[in-house]
């Protein structure tokens, strides 16, 4: 008979090794899957890497895709650490972009460029925060399921921006084409080393969140609430306030992503601006083991996957959604592998009483 034994001590090396094997296995399985669907998996994977890292231009593209992933993941991390399943990243991104666009369209001429940009960021963070605050409020008030609530908020945000784009915010100069007016230079983020300044923001935020989670009282409280509500209660923590604060941070960061995407990438407000980053960030966050420094690595890796996915669509006519499937597959295997980090399977010994 087999029996499952809880591991007493798992070395860091062992747990990293198990995760690594899991990711490797997920790629093998994805490969088999791609083969069944009629493509050559080695060619697909090879082209994905070339498409993401082959030239300086493509590396820049990959980094540009990593920026929103990093910032959104940091936001999701704060919520997940508390076991608050914020899957409303998409909506919070969209609402952040909406608020930033409001500032950009109305106040670009009134202030200098840095002031406009900072106002846009603040507006985006506040609005993203509010979008996360609503489900958080009902969670602490009535115990409403936050997963479904945050997800519904995504759709509401999406419909709201669609309404604006096709209705009140439609650019009269676009000859009937339903789009929001382009931003003026004042509302567009500048570039440093050929990549928009979002990359600096992403790195700085990673450091801030790492310090916040590990070295501040609030960060510690968030972790305790996630580990055990009872412990938090016993220690006399104000759980409601902690949940609300954490979700404001979470939504605020996602909102900031929206501002960056609107300002630096789209240079306007579009319905497709969030680009699924809110969902992909869930995976990158989980893979990072809820540790901010690792978010940088997982986000970069997934940016390669996304960029590679859009490249093979053009180069090989393989639908880019293959990247989504691989993402799901990786997550399956990593989730499964965690069992082998926590437990080991041995033969049943006879001495069991």
């Amino acid at each position: 008979m087999l029996r499952i034994i809880k591991r007493e001590d798992v070395s860091k090396r062992q747990s990293i090794l198990i995760r690594f094997i899991a990711i490797l296995l997920s790629l093998v399985f994805s490969g088999v899957f791609i083969f069944i669907l009629g493509f050559n998996p080695i060619e697909v994977f090879g082209n994905m890497v070339i498409g993401a890292l082959g030239t300086e231009m493509r590396i820049k593209e990959t980094i540009i895709k990593a920026i929103p992933l990093i910032i959104t993941s940091l936001g999701i991390l704060v919520a997940f650490k508390m076991k608050f399943w914020n899957i409303g990243g998409e909506g919070q991104i969209i609402m952040g972009a909406f608020a930033a666009t409001y500032i950009a369209l109305n106040y670009s001429d009134n202030f200098s460029r840095p002031v406009v940009l900072i106002l846009m960021m603040l507006a985006a963070m506040i609005t993203g925060g509010i979008w996360a605050f609503i489900p958080a409020f009902f969670k602490v008030k009535f115990g409403t399921n936050e997963t479904i609530f945050t997800l519904m908020m995504n759709y509401i945000a999406l419909k709201w921006v669609t309404y604006l784009q096709y209705g009140p915010w439609k650019d009269p100069n676009s000859q009937g084409f339903p789009k929001v007016a382009n931003f003026e230079v004042n509302a567009i983020l500048p570039s440093v080393f050929g990549i928009h300044i979002g990359w600096i923001i992403a790195i700085v935020l990673t450091i801030i969140i790492a310090i916040f989670m590990n070295y501040t009282k609030k960060g510690y409280e968030i972790t305790v609430v996630g580990e055990s509500i009872d412990t938090a209660k016993y220690a006399g923590m104000n759980i409601k306030m902690i949940v609300i604060t954490a979700m404001l941070i979470s939504g605020g960061l996602c909102g900031l992503t929206g501002m960056i995407q609107a300002s630096a990438i789209e240079k306007t407000l579009t319905v497709s601006l969030s680009g699924g980053y809110g969902f992909t960030a869930i995976i990158t966050t989980w893979l990072s083991n809820l540790k901010a420094p690792f978010v940088l690595m997982t986000s970069l890796a997934f940016a390669v996957l996304l960029q590679g996915g859009s490249y093979i669509q053009i180069a090989m006519q393989v639908p880019s959604s293959v990247a989504d499937m691989i993402q799901g597959m990786i997550l399956f295997f990593v989730l499964g592998s965690e069992f082998f980090i926590r437990y080991t399977i041995g033969l049943k010994s006879k001495e069991v009483a």
Binding site: N145, M152, S321, V322, D324
Partner: protein
């Protein structure tokens, strides 16, 4: 006009009915599978592609059922056997299913349900029943799948509340340790019902892509899987209430279209928000009420394994 509206609401609500019932049965076993959207999409694309290849409606439905079941099997292995986090596993299933459907469906975008399947899903009247005043024309002039939906709800209600197995299932969801101690095979019960739940979600997806919206489009479910998860709470884990909830939301789904055809001027995009706003409202209201029989299964979301001695 009301009859026509309610009639259409039932058609629009039928995919939700299957998905909601599927999630309900899954949750009765104590596992919270948030992959409904993914399983619906897997069922939708499998049903649609098998339908296109074979032109056979039964084959299409079996394909959809198997696809949904396969998605649920992944979830069962990860959460029951490997004790993975149920919330994140469900999300992973949704992400995977969305990618799978979009990948498989790339060449189908804009394609229409084949005529052989369309004619199979033609509405017919049930004699006598369709003559009932008011209710008859709304309930009993549908296609075979809607009737199948009524039947499945009836069977599920009987199974859950009138059979030994149903009682065992509820015991597993309420208190897995006690169920185990009384000799119920907890793992087997969880596996079987998670997979049946997934199969039902797959069927709901296929009805959506073959009948309700008979043209393949990417993300055809547009959040219905998530609405189904909320409807389970709304229905307080009761199949009959789940059916009512599904039809209610079917009505909301088509409300915008109806209003516009009545000449009422409202933005289509704001009306499109309604089902999602309504879901949020329903969610808040149904968590506020704390009646005993409306509670979720007690062990919902809690992984079960025998303690090591």
């Amino acid at each position: 006009m009301w009859t026509a509206f309610l009639f259409a609401a039932i058609i629009a609500g039928t995919p939700l009915l299957f998905a909601t019932l599927g999630e309900l049965i899954t949750e009765k076993s104590g596992n919270l599978n948030l992959g409904v959207e993914g399983m619906m999409l897997m069922g939708a694309i499998m049903g649609f592609s098998v339908g296109i290849w074979t032109g056979n409606p039964i084959m299409a439905m079996i394909g959809a059922l198997l696809a949904g079941a396969a998605g649920a099997l992944i979830f069962a292995v990860l959460t029951v056997s490997l004790r993975a986090n149920q919330v994140v596993t469900g999300l992973a299933l949704t992400i995977f299913g969305t990618g799978f459907a979009s990948f498989m469906g790339k060449n189908f975008v804009g394609k229409v349900t084949p005529p052989a399947i369309k004619s199979f899903f033609h509405a017919f009247e049930i004699p006598f029943l369709s003559d009932i005043p008011y209710l008859g024309p709304i309930l009993f002039k549908h296609d075979v799948f809607v009737y199948f939906g009524y039947l499945v709800i009836l069977i599920a209600s009987l199974y859950l509340y009138k059979t030994r197995r149903g009682l065992n299932l509820r015991a597993v969801g309420e208190n897995a340790a006690a169920a185990d101690a009384s000799g119920i095979n907890v793992t087997l019960y969880k596996y079987v019902h998670i997979i049946i739940g997934g199969a039902l979600c797959g069927l709901g997806g296929a009805y959506l892509s073959l009948v309700t919206i008979p043209v393949w489009q990417e993300g055809v479910t547009s959040g219905r899987g998530w609405i189904a998860v909320a409807l389970v709470i709304f229905a307080s884990w009761n199949p009959t209430k789940a059916m009512l909830g599904a039809f209610l939301f079917g009505g909301l789904d088509i409300l915008g279209f109806r209003l516009q055809s009545q000449g009422i001027q409202v933005s289509q995009y704001l009306i499109d928000m309604l089902p999602y706003v309504a879901t949020v409202v329903v969610l808040i209201l149904s968590t506020r009420n704390n009646k005993k029989e409306d509670r979720p299964p007690q062990d919902l979301g809690v992984p079960y394994y025998r303690e090591e001695r």
